[in-house]
């Protein structure tokens, strides 16, 4: 293991050099002509926690979509774990998806399946054995604190519990990366904070976490790396930062 000073940030050291995600001059223009991202250069190292912030329409979701190959860059290259994501043939995208867990603002649970079945679903469809399922589902139920709710259906859960279920489903297949697209957007502040703490715990277990958010209070409380987007691309990329640039000078 080698220590390295993070560029432009005296006092902050990274102990692991593996680059998990890298954007090289990435632009994304949607077929309808909307410019979603412009000239993005970004490196996220293994085990980092990164907030993606910025006003609506500056491409936070698009940036995440490029990582799990829901979108392909119009220009530039996105590398995930050293692999050029845009060059993956359609039939091989599933391999990338197994490296990237994703949670959304709207949870996207299957309404006719219990919490247990929702989490087990990710294992079942990726070909896990019955034994693996019996072993791993309880483990992740416990991680997200839903062991007692495992037989409930999503409609019987609170928003926070639904998001916990979604997080467990995203992680149960052991992806090294977790992407959270405004995961607290539908939750009240207390619940949001609980989800935030859960994500932090997941990051401490070793996952690389990228989270887009509007919640300035939460970002300010966490003091982690913040990548701020505006219409011209990345406006700011700082370690241990605040939601707004001016907050730093406070």
């Amino acid at each position: 293991m080698r220590l390295r000073r993070v560029d432009g940030h005296p006092g902050i050291w990274h102990t692991d050099l593996a680059v998990m995600i890298e954007f090289r001059g990435v632009s994304l223009i949607y077929p309808n002509g909307v410019l979603a991202l412009r000239g993005i250069n970004l490196r996220v190292e293994k085990g980092e926690f990164v907030f993606i912030v910025g006003p609506t329409g500056t491409g936070k979701s698009s940036l995440l979509k490029l990582i799990y190959r829901e979108e392909v860059p119009t220009e530039g290259t996105v590398l995930v774990d050293g692999q050029d994501v845009g060059a993956i043939p359609e039939g091989e995208v599933w391999r990338l998806r197994r490296k990237v867990g994703v949670v959304f603002q709207d949870f996207r649970l299957l309404p006719d399946r219990t919490v247990w079945e929702n989490i087990a679903f990710a294992l079942r469809v990726t070909g896990a054995s019955a034994r693996q399922i019996r072993r791993r589902v309880p483990e992740f139920l416990e991680l997200v604190g839903l062991t007692h709710r495992c037989d409930s259906f999503p409609s019987q859960l609170s928003g926070g519990e639904q998001q916990r279920t979604a997080i467990a489903r995203a992680l149960v297949t052991d992806p090294p990366i977790l992407l959270a697209d405004e995961p607290t957007g539908n939750l009240d502040p207390d619940t949001s904070w609980e989800i935030m703490q859960l994500l932090e715990r997941i990051n401490l277990r070793g996952s690389t976490v990228l989270m887009s958010t509007h919640d300035s209070e939460m970002v300010n409380r966490m003091r982690r790396r913040v990548v701020a987007l505006d219409l011209n691309g990345i406006a700011r990329d700082e370690q241990r930062a605040y939601y707004h640039a001016e907050s730093v000078q406070r």
């Binding site: 998806r97 996207r108 469809v125 399922i133």
Partner: protein
């Protein structure tokens, strides 16, 4: 690649799909059954008519009349020559006496020809052709033999039935294919509706990295089950129609003798089942592939 619990999961998913879309599944089985039955029924009829058209002219014999006054040894020599010609299945000698008797019998009792002073008939050969469609060819070869006086055969009828056989064959093949494609379209549509009903599941599968073949499998299985059930239904319908036709024609040998497709019941069952399963697999494969290509994760989650 697949472990037992995956197989169980996939099969259960396919069955759950069918149960969830019971009405659509029923509609698909019925339409697949009826269209397969129509397409197979049409094919069988076409085959039977085609065969009849080919079989009928087999019985149109060629009559070769021997020039009057040909000595008997030359006549028997001629028989050998004719029998050796390609396209000749068998040769029967009909003496002028017998020919005359037959002719008189065919006229009936109304006209008496007993007072004719001599027998106007000629010795003749009845030739059974191995392929009446090549009768003209045979006729040309026989005509050049010095002992031959005249040749009679039903070349117009042969031409008619040969042409009819060809038309029925082509039309039957085209109609069968069109009807088959129609069934494929209907089953494909049912599968599409099934996919649409399960778009959330499909989108989660894609999100967490299920292989495309894994995503397709339950739908393929569903399509094959539906179309397979349709094939069974089609078989029943065809057997019913066949039984009805049999009751209708009864002992009418003149009809049943010709209207036989020559397709054994087990062959029909195997063909229909193969067609049904192929149809189900193909149409659902195309549907799900198209869906996976066109839709995004986002759209599917809504």
């Amino acid at each position: 690649m697949l472990n037992p619990s995956s197989v169980e999961f996939l099969v259960l998913e396919a069955l759950a799909n069918i149960r969830r879309n019971r009405l659509m599944a029923l509609a698909a089985v019925l339409t697949a059954g009826v269209s397969l039955a129509i397409s197979a029924g049409f094919a069988l009829t076409a085959i039977a008519v085609h065969r009849a058209c080919e079989k009928l002219p087999q019985e149109f014999d060629m009559a070769v009349y021997v020039r009057r006054g040909t000595p008997p040894d030359r006549v028997s020599k001629l028989k050998e020559t004719l029998a050796a010609m390609p396209g000749v299945a068998s040769v029967t000698f009909i003496s002028k006496e017998r020919g005359w008797q037959e002719f008189k019998r065919s006229l009936g009792q109304d006209i008496s020809m007993d007072d004719l002073l001599y027998n106007p008939a000629l010795d003749s050969f009845k030739i059974r052709m191995s392929d009446p469609r090549r009768g003209r060819h045979l006729q040309n070869r026989i005509r050049n033999l010095p002992e031959v006086d005249d040749i009679l055969w039903r070349q117009n009828e042969v031409r008619f039935f040969t042409g009819l056989a060809r038309v029925v064959g082509i039309a039957g093949a085209v109609a069968t294919v069109v009807l088959f494609l129609g069934s494929a379209f209907i089953i494909g549509n049912t599968i599409r509706l099934g996919i649409y009903a399960r778009r959330r599941e499909v989108s989660i599968m894609r999100l967490v990295g299920a292989r495309p073949s894994f995503i397709r499998f339950p739908f393929l299985l569903e399509g094959m089950l539906l179309a397979g059930a349709g094939a069974v239904l089609a078989l029943l319908l065809i057997r019913l129609a066949g039984a009805y036709l049999e009751a209708l024609t009864g002992d009418l040998q003149s009809i049943t003798r010709f209207l036989d497709s020559g397709v054994a019941p087990w062959q029909l069952a195997a063909l229909l089942m193969a067609a049904g399963l192929g149809l189900g697999a193909l149409s659902s494969y195309l549907s799900i592939r198209r869906y996976l290509k066109e839709s995004s994760l986002e759209a599917a989650a809504q």
